[in-house]
């Protein structure tokens, strides 16, 4: 249990354009332990999504290395579950065929994959919608379908990049509770990007705060609120204190 699911070791990344270079990440080191829920928060341009893109192998770090389950893999794509900001459901595939994409990529037999997906569908509130096209779904359901697709990659670690960013406040809270429920029930490890201080505190065991460009780790905040979390906790003084601390670190609350 002591091997981190993901370990970033002195990661730096610079993007080079034609006439200038943009430093995105600078000397990032941290570990994510099994079963942990870590939220990443930081101003726009602090390289949060870049960190994810590095982790899933869409980008290569300029310096440093990324360990997954204690090893430095030759190829990172496919090793961790990844959900980008947009739901990116394929409009030409029905919901079930959309969520089966990762299993299809892995070359698993179709029949078993379908069986597996259909069993888990109810947990994601998508029962009865498996034969709809994504265009028929609401924003919240699309997000859930995208999450199920990530889930079915079958990886123990999930990287979620602002999955609830585009949703209305109520749907968002509903999905937060639901995400915590499935996270606990299925014992996964989650890294979660958000811009929302309340969301960062509510979901996490630990919040990592990144600075503005180039992204550096500014601070880490342990969230020792009891689980299961309930939305009413947001009104607790302890919750408010954590939020205040975060806001100060982010430089929003002067």
């Amino acid at each position: 249990m002591n091997i981190p699911r993901i370990e970033f070791k002195q990661i730096s990344k610079t993007f080079s354009g034609t006439d200038h270079t943009v430093p995105a990440l600078d000397d990032i080191s941290f570990k994510v332990m099994p079963g942990e829920f870590v939220t990443l928060i930081g101003p726009s341009g602090s390289g949060k999504s870049t960190l994810f893109n590095l982790c899933v192998g869409l980008l290569e770090p300029g310096k440093g290395e990324i360990l997954i389950d204690g090893e430095k893999p030759k190829k990172r794509p496919g090793l961790v579950g990844y959900m980008p900001q947009r739901d990116l459901l394929l409009p030409w595939r029905k919901v079930l065929d959309n969520v089966l994409i990762p299993l299809e990529v892995q070359g698993l037999p179709q029949k078993e994959s379908r069986q597996r997906a259909l069993e888990i569908l109810p947990y994601f509130g998508l029962e009865g919608f498996e034969n709809e096209y994504p265009s028929a779904l609401s924003g919240g359901m699309r997000q859930r379908a995208a999450l199920l697709r990530t889930w079915l990659m079958g990886r123990s670690t999930l990287l979620l990049d602002e999955p609830f960013g585009a949703l209305d406040a109520l749907t968002r809270k509903e999905l937060q509770n639901w995400l915590l429920k499935v996270w606990q029930e299925f014992e996964r490890t989650v890294m979660f990007i958000t811009h929302d201080v309340e969301e960062a505190v509510y979901l996490a065991d630990r919040v990592i705060v990144l600075s503005a460009r180039p992204g550096r780790i500014k601070t880490e905040l342990k969230i020792n609120l009891p689980r299961p979390r309930r939305q009413s906790m947001i009104a607790d003084p302890a919750f408010g204190k954590l939020e205040k601390e975060l806001l100060q670190e982010l430089g929003v609350d002067a």
Partner: protein
Amino acid sequence: MNWRKYIIPPTALIAILIIGWYFVAKISGLNSFILPSPINVIQAGWETRDLLLSAIGTTLLATGIGLVLAIIAGIGIATIIDFWPLARRALYPILVVSQTIQILAIAPILIIWFGFGLMPTIVIVVLFCFFPLAISTADGLISTDPDLIALLRAMGANRRQIWRMVRMPSALPAFFSGLRLAVTYSIVAATIGEWVGGSQGLGLYMLRSKNSLATDQVFVAMLITSLLSIGLFITVYIIERLVMPWYHSKQRKEQWDDTGIY
């Protein structure tokens, strides 16, 4: 679909035009080899029905073969352009130039090369039709959402899987737009080939009718050419709906309606 909204206006307009044509032909007193009335045209068509039927068969055969070859060529060229940036730069201008070449000038040469059979007609159909297919399919392929490709890559998909699961379906709407254009041109292209080759099909029927001043028969041929083109267009439209039900879904249409553009 509200069929009244879409069927009645064009039908009514066409009916008015035909009636207008009838009266002009009648009242002007023009000889029927200058302006045949709609009734002359129908009579002429009926009298030459055996000839017409076999001509239609021949023309459709040449069109069909030509279209299949054009689709293969169009998709092939689009794929090459997509996979290989150098080919895009090298081929694109040539493709455009190919469309500026006078078919009327090429046709006799094709007859010298391929004889008086179906072949020259097929080649002309291909020349007319591959272009919209190649261009639209290439555009469709390049219009794939890069985020979708990134997602698939992050899942560990290889190039072939990305091609099959994302790029090809993304290109389908554009491909079908190209195909609709292509089939609309195809019948006319075939009759031009036949006319110039003077060997068979509706084109020959037209040529012979013109030469013998049977203007009513020329009108018959024009009418049938149009009907065949429209028929092909509708066929492609139906296939398109069957192949891409998601693209023609109710929700998608409603989203368009919601924009208030129409």
